[in-house]
């Protein structure tokens, strides 16, 4: 409940007091009065938006990861070389998955922005938001229509229609919010130029639907152009933001902006992103991905009793043995996803404030995480020692590597503005700095090591991969010990070096570099 709750309760008691005095203990009358008096008071049903946002995050994270299912359910023929099927797969399904993931996260980012402006809700806003969610969850389908039938305009028209309606609903939400200012962010509520904010926000929101309107009109005339328009609409702000940020980092200049619009609806990469919502969204994706394989197992891997009787001589254990690789794949992918979640969780425990660039890297990391179950299933599907198996193992390693690398990238981005974004413990020289670095770099290093090891010892790729799977959880358990040993070793080396070269401070500066500079 919002903070104006308490005053309302007091007010409500006042109402009752007066009522009581007037009607002299006429309970029924005062009951009716007190209920209907809530109508005259606009604030009556104001609510905290926390749970609405958590539910929206859950919905969006499910939708973002849905499109991996068609990829995962693609069956490979054993006699076919993996490379060919991978090629066919990459061109359509993986592309659809990645594009859907990006588009849905763009919609999610817009949703975050909207509810950073409107921080309290009431029943009407909750219902409007549900309508908005319904259309967002429909986006992946329109997109997969577009990808399967690139020459038909139906997909693009449906997509544009959805985006336009979503835009209109968001405008409605903004207009509703500004008509009841107590729903707004405190900063805007206090501000004198609310009208300016309103116009600015509406302008930013309406940009996308209007471009989509043009795209849908063009699609009738010359549909290739409408794809270009859509790509521009959706990704240009991010690309231009990225370029601007790199430019500014290279030149060292500061971005100038009108002071009023700095915080909301800018396309700056340093625009704050609600940390809670990034966490909730990531939790949703990790949870879905971790359970993707058990969904399949529960549905497909319970043999038919008649089959067991006929083919396996009534022995259930023998019948289930054929599914052995799938159980392995499930436990392997659950553990890997769980540990990646653990790393993410450790990182965000020490993040005070997230920004949009971190959000972007988080999205990339999650997009790779989504591919993990598929990779694990592949790994266990091919006959031992085959070329296919080696390639499947290597694909798994590459996916794990990138998922971990983008997590590391988030930390590096956070370190650039560590005073605002990080807890003192994990800043340069903080007591947990090295430990965090070790945690974040464990998976990329292990994945890279496994990859090169399988290149050299290609015949033992599967055993190496299994060793990695089993070893990594223990590595995490012992990580603190390992880091302590490594640091003790370094300190011992350093101290003996210092005893020798006590008056040469330059060496100290150099020896500091290998640890601290790795992350920059």
């Amino acid at each position: 409940m919002a903070e104006n709750d308490e005053s309302e309760i007091i007010e409500h008691h006042d109402d009752e007091e007066m009522e009581k005095r007037r009607t002299q203990r006429n309970h029924f009358h005062s009951f009716l009065e007190s209920v209907s008096s809530s109508e005259t008071n606009g604030h009556s049903s104001t609510q905290s938006s926390h749970r609405l946002l958590a539910y929206s995050d859950a919905l969006i994270s499910i939708i973002a990861t849905v499109m991996i299912l068609p990829v995962a359910h693609t069956k490979f023929q054993d006699n076919e070389e993996l490379k060919q099927s991978i090629q066919a797969l990459l061109t359509t399904k993986v592309a659809v998955y990645l594009m859907t993931f990006l588009i849905v996260t763009v919609a999610w980012a817009a949703h975050i922005r909207l509810f950073q402006v409107i921080v309290r809700i009431d029943d009407n806003l909750a219902l409007l938001n549900l309508a908005c969610m319904m259309l967002i969850t429909f986006l992946p389908y329109t997109f997969s229509l577009m990808a399967t039938f690139p020459n038909y305009i139906l997909g693009i028209l449906l997509f544009c229609a959805c985006v336009m309606v979503i835009g209109l609903i968001q405008c409605l939400i903004v207009l509703y919010g500004f008509s009841r200012p107590f729903l707004l962010n405190d900063q805007i509520q206090m501000s004198e130029n609310q009208a300016y904010y309103k116009q600015h926000i509406l302008k930013v929101i309406m940009k996308v639907p209007i471009m989509c309107l043009f795209a849908s009109i063009f699609s009738v005339i010359f549909f290739q152009l409408s794809y270009v328009i859509l790509a521009i609409v959706i990704f240009l702000p991010y690309i231009s933001g990225c370029l601007k940020w790199i430019w500014n980092k290279a030149i060292g200049g500061q971005v100038e902006d009108s002071p009023d619009s700095v915080l909301f609806y800018t396309y700056q990469l340093s625009e704050p992103l609600s940390k809670e919502r990034v966490e909730a969204f990531s939790d949703g994706v990790y949870a879905i991905v971790a359970t993707l394989l058990i969904l399949d197992i529960c549905e497909d891997n319970v043999p038919d009793p008649s089959v067991v009787k006929r083919e396996f001589n009534n022995s259930l254990v023998t019948a289930l043995q054929q599914y052995g690789p799938e159980y392995l794949a499930y436990f392997g992918s659950f553990a890997t996803v769980g540990l990646l979640w653990f790393v993410h969780h450790s990182l965000f425990l020490h993040v005070i404030k997230a920004n949009r660039l971190m959000g972007l890297f988080n999205t990339f990391s999650l997009a790779f995480v989504g591919g993990l179950p598929l990779a694990y299933q592949l790994t266990h599907e091919f006959p031992r020692g085959s070329r296919n198996e080696l390639e499947a193992v290597q694909i798994s390693c590459v996916i794990i590597f990138f998922a971990g690398l983008f997590q590391l990238a988030m930390w590096v981005v956070a370190l650039f503005t560590e005073r605002e974004t990080l807890h003192p413990y994990v800043r340069y020289g903080g007591r947990e700095h090295t430990f965090m670095l070790a945690k974040l770099s464990l998976y990329p290093c292990v994945a890279l090591g496994t990859f090169f090891l399988t290149c050299i010892l290609s015949r033992f790729s599967a055993p190496i991969f299994h060793m990695m799977e089993i070893g990594v959880p223990f590595a995490f358990l012992l990580l603190r010990l390992l880091v302590r040993v490594a640091l003790a070793l370094l300190r011992w080396l350093f101290c003996s070096a210092r005893n020798d070269l006590d008056n040469v401070p330059v060496v100290e500066e150099d020896s500091q570099l290998p640890i601290v500079d790795v992350v920059t």
Copy 2:
């Protein structure tokens, strides 16, 4: 981060100060020192458990709803009567779904209890919890093995093995927690008889694994008995709790308990249940259920380009028209689930504290919600006007009715102890009381009305159902207005009655009953 954070930061600065003084701006040395000093300090990596619990809730809610997928994917033959296929379906798949849902929620309730005792975590606990989650997510599979092969002991052995390992991990977590008391609940941390608590909690936790050990031993000798043991282990505490509660309500006596064990690990139905976790779990279930149909649509309802060319004369729109009912089912079930979530959200906004009986009714409500997409898909699958269609519509109505009814039941339970559990607004005579009652009873009433209407006008069952689907969202939008009109009408009736019978207070008492007594 936990509340002892601030003191740690100060401590950390002290460390640094001393370090600086000693080594005189030797940065590298102080960096190494500050990192390794965290090793000597046991509290260093203490974390808030909030996100771990949110992730666990997401995982468990997904797993709880998974087993509806095999039910939903059952295909009905058109020429077969629905009643027969329903019978075959009910006996296995629906039973598996419901039992899995209950078992998983039992595991979830145990998880809540555990983390009401251990309120702070560190890395080791997070990893132990992930291991525990991995086994919980495997439970539905063992259970569906048990249901499909009731005469084989493999399913029951696997299930018992999982439960025993989960129990052992929970014991490990408790032992670890009590060895580091700063991780514990403040109340236990302050308490003088920590040893008693530890023993009590371990005793309660170990009860289930030990019974499972017996069950697995008996399964080798006489496996029917082990099913009985399992049923007793899992459901007896709930049933006996229910009976005890009803007994106490009927007799009016108070439950006597040792004062120490009142709050944790009792089997009282009034034992508090973390409200946040009930919300998080419910959000997860609602979100999965709302998107279940779009998962299928994205995977199955994109026609093959070659088929469109061959069979539909290159017209994509015609090709997609055959899927029309499935889109309708998706939007219909999304809207219904969304609105049921909305009612749940409104209720829990006004709940201050949840207890176990409310949690039980919530579970029942969610179990019915999980069946909704299936019911909706059925409704749109059969030819218009057929007997099957009528029955499918009626099944949908029954499911909606019970999902809504158990939500209402939660409120009724909360009203019994309204001083502890409810916000003043929605208590008897509160200003939102009538409105909340209207919100909660809208779906049961509408579902009941639709059911009886379809009984009478059986030929128009589908149109009536569609009208209901379209009408309900608007009813929610206008509900406040409707309630106001109804109350004004009542008040007008009442006032004119009072003017006539100004000196007969008994009538007032009577006229109060119809509104307030409905909920008791």
